[in-house]
C-alpha cells in the first residue's frame, strides 16, 4: 500500500528527516490561506499514484489568488483513476541541487539495497536507463540495515562535502528505521534537495507498505483499499485478489499464475477478459468463497460470460462445484457459466455441475474457446 505524500512526510519528520513547511488543504479557500501564510508555494495533489506531475498534479502558486484558482482546478481532477481530494501546499524551497535516495528490497541478492543518485526528480527507472553512472547501489544485510559506512559511501559518491555527512547518516538511518517500523517495501526521497544553505531536505516522500504486514499496523490497514477502484474495493473486501480490466469475459481462477494464464488464453483465442479474480487465499477456495466470486461476476453488467478455471491443489473440486451452483441459484442469473475443473474430488465436482446443466471441461483450451465463442454470441 502506498502512503500519500503528506502521510509519508509526517513519518519522515518523526524520524528526523527535514521536509518543507506545508499545510494539507481540502478546499481552494484553505489553499489560499496556506499561500497567504507561506508565500510562494507548490500545490501538490495527494494521490496514491506516481507520475502526477505530468498529469497536472503539481503546480506553483505565487499568490493566494493563484493558489485558490489552481487548487480549484486540481480538486476537480482525477489523476490516473484517483479522485483528488487532498492537496499539500508547501513553501517553495531554494534548491541548489537535487538528489535521489531510497531503501528497498533487492530481489536478486535477497538483501536490502540503498540506492542513491547525483540526479534527483527523475523516476528511478528512467535514471537507471539513461544515467546509470549517476547511481550507486549498496546492498545490506536485512538484519543489519544501516551502518555509518553506508552514509559515507553514498555521500562521498554523490560528492557532498564532509560537513553534510552527518546529515546523510541521519537520513539513511531514518530510512532503515522507517522500513522496519512501518514494514515498508520502499522508502524513497525523490528529490532530496540540497537547499541554498547547504542543508538536505526531502521535497517528496514515498513509502510503500508491505500488504502482508498490515496486520501489525491497524491504523494503516484501514486505508488499504484506497488506491483501488470501487469495483476492486468491493471484491477485495470479500477477500479476493481482484483487478478490473476492460473486457467482457469474467475470469475466476485459483492461483495468480493460473488466473493470468487464463486471461492470456482468452486473448489468444480472440476474447477480452473483464477482470482478474483469484479465489485462492492461502487455505484454498472454499464453497462460500467460490459462490461469492461467481456472484460478483454474474452481477457485473460488463460480464457476458463467466469462465471459472480451477486446477485444485488445496482446492477441492466438489466444494467449487457447489459454490458455482449456489451462486447461480441465489442470483437467478441466466448468464452463461463455463467451468474448467481439475483436481481433488474432480469426479464429484463434475457430476454436481453437469447435473446443474453447466458446461464443464477438463481441457483448458476447450473451455476458453467455448467461453470466447459464447461471448461473441455463440449459443450455450
Amino acid at each position: 500500500m502506498r502512503l500519500l505524500e503528506y502521510e509519508a512526510k509526517e513519518i519522515f519528520r518523526r524520524y528526523g528527516i527535514r521536509t518543507p513547511e506545508g499545510v494539507v488543504c481540502r478546499t481552494p479557500q484553505e489553499a489560499r490561506e496556506a499561500v497567504a501564510k507561506l508565500g510562494s508555494s507548490v500545490i501538490k495533489a495527494q494521490v496514491p499514484v506516481g507520475g502526477r506531475g505530468l498529469a497536472g498534479g503539481v503546480k506553483f502558486a505565487e499568490s493566494p489568488d493563484e493558489a485558490y484558482r489552481l487548487a480549484g482546478e486540481m480538486l476537480s481532477k482525477e489523476i490516473k483513476g484517483s479522485r483528488v481530494e487532498l492537496l499539500l501546499v508547501e513553501k517553495k524551497v531554494c534548491v541548489s541541487r537535487e538528489l535521489y535516495l531510497s531503501l528497498t528490497v533487492d530481489r536478486a541478492s535477497r538483501s536490502l539495497v540503498y540506492i542513491a543518485s547525483k540526479i534527483g526528480g527523475v523516476e528511478i527507472e528512467e535514471l537507471a536507463r539513461k544515467n546509470p553512472e549517476s547511481l550507486v547501489k549498496l546492498n545490506t544485510n536485512p538484519y543489519i540495515g544501516f551502518s555509518p559506512y553506508i552514509a559515507r559511501t553514498i555521500a562521498s559518491f554523490i560528492g557532498l562535502p564532509a560537513e553534510a555527512w552527518g546529515e546523510v547518516e541521519r537520513i539513511l538511518a531514518g530510512l532503515y528505521r522507517i522500513m522496519v517500523d512501518y514494514d515498508a517495501e520502499l522508502v524513497e526521497i525523490n528529490p532530496l534537495a540540497v537547499d541554498c544553505s547547504g542543508s538536505l531536505i526531502a521535497l517528496d516522500a514515498k513509502i510503500l507498505v508491505d500488504d502482508n504486514s498490515l496486520f501489525r499496523h491497524p491504523d494503516l490497514e484501514k486505508l488499504k483499499y484506497r488506491e483501488l477502484t470501487s469495483e476492486e474495493r468491493s471484491a477485495r473486501e470479500k477477500g479476493f485478489t481482484y483487478v478490473s480490466l476492460d473486457g467482457y469475459i469474467g475470469v475466476i481462477g485459483n492461483g495468480a499464475g493460473l488466473t493470468m494464464a487464463t486471461m492470456d488464453l482468452i486473448e489468444y483465442y480472440g476474447g477480452k477478459p473483464a477482470n482478474f479474480l483469484d479465489v485462492w487465499s492461502g487455505g484454498g477456495a472454499s464453497r462460500d468463497r467460490v459462490k461469492e466470486a461467481v456472484r460478483l461476476l454474474l452481477e457485473n453488467p460488463r460480464v457476458r460470460v463467466v469462465l471459472v478455471n480451477i486446477f485444485g491443489g488445496m482446492t477441492r473440486c466438489d466444494e467449487v462445484a457447489l459454490g458455482v451452483k449456489q451462486a447461480i441459484e441465489e442470483t437467478g442469473s441466466k448468464k452463461p457459466v463455463v467451468v474448467r475443473l481439475m483436481g481433488t474430488n474432480q469426479e464429484e465436482g463434475v457430476r454436481i455441475l453437469r447435473e446443474a446443466g453447466l458446461l464443464v471441461y477438463e481441457d483448458v483450451d476447450e473451455a476458453v474457446r467455448r467461453a470466447v465463442e459464447i461471448s461473441r454470441g455463440g449459443g450455450v
Binding site: 538483501s111 527507472e125 483487478v243 492461483g255 499464475g257 489468444y268 491443489g313 488445496m314
Partner: protein, 289 residues
Amino acid sequence: MIAGKNTRVLVQGITGKEGSFHTKLMLEYGTRIVAGVTPGKGGSTVHGVRVFNTVREALRETGGVDASVVFVPARAAYDAVLEAVENDIKLIVVVTEGIPLLEELRIVHYAKLKGVTIVGPNTPGLIVPGETKLGIMPANYYKPGVVAVMSRSGTLSYEVAWQLSRSGLGVSVAIGIGGDPVTGLDFIEVYNMFLEDPKTRYVVLVGEIGGDLEERFAKYYSGLAEKKPVVAYIAGRSAPREKRMGHAGAIISMGLGDYESKVKALTESGIPVARKVSDIPSLLKGLGV
C-alpha cells in the same frame, strides 16, 4: 536430486487444517514423514505421525531429518523457519503464503549464508514423481518422466505438469520457487540442480510478469557451455502495468518484468517461449531430442 525416496521429513504446523490434510496426502504418496511439530500439541499424533512441541525434541526423538515442510501460519512462520534453520535442517519447504516481506527477506538471506536451502515461501513445494512429495501439489497429475519443471506459480505449474504427463513426456522433478518477491531459490539455482539430475533431460521454466528472475536466468543460460534444453512459458501477457496480480511478485515496475522483456531475453538466449501451456509438449518434442 534435492530429495528422494529416503528423504526423512518433518512437518511444522502439522496439526493445522492444511498441515494435517497434506501430511495425509504426502504419506499416501510415500513421503517418509518421521515427525511433526506444533507448539503445545506435543505428545499427540497426526495420521500416525508423532507430534512434538519443538523442532529440537523432534530431532532428538526421531534421530534427525533431512527436510522440513512448513505449514505454520504467516504470522508465526518466520519463527518456525528460523527454528528449523537453527536446528540445522538443510532443506526447508515453506508452503505458507503471506509472510511479512521483511521477515521473509531476513530468513531467506540468513538461510543462504548458513548454506540452508529454502524452497518458497508461498510455494506448492517440490515433487520427485514416483519417489517423494514435499508439498501440496496434486500428485496424480505428475507422472514420472524426463522433464523438470521450475515455476513461480502454484496451480499453473500443476497445469504444466498435467500437460507434460498426458503428452507422455512426464515429469522428473518439479520445484515451485514461490510466488513472493523474495524466495530462497531462483531459476538459476534450481536449473543447476536439474543439470545434476540424471533423470532430467529437458527443463520447463514457468514464469510470470514482475521481477527479473526470467531475464537473469536467460542471461545465465546463454553463458553456459553445457546445458539441458529449456522451454519457457510466461503468464501475464494480458495483464496491465503497475497492478499487482495476486502474487506480490507479479507486479511490473521499476522498468523490469513486463512480458515482452522476458520473452525477448529468453528467446535471444535460445529458449523457445510457448504462447500457451498446451504448446509446451510439442515445443519440447520439436527440440528434437
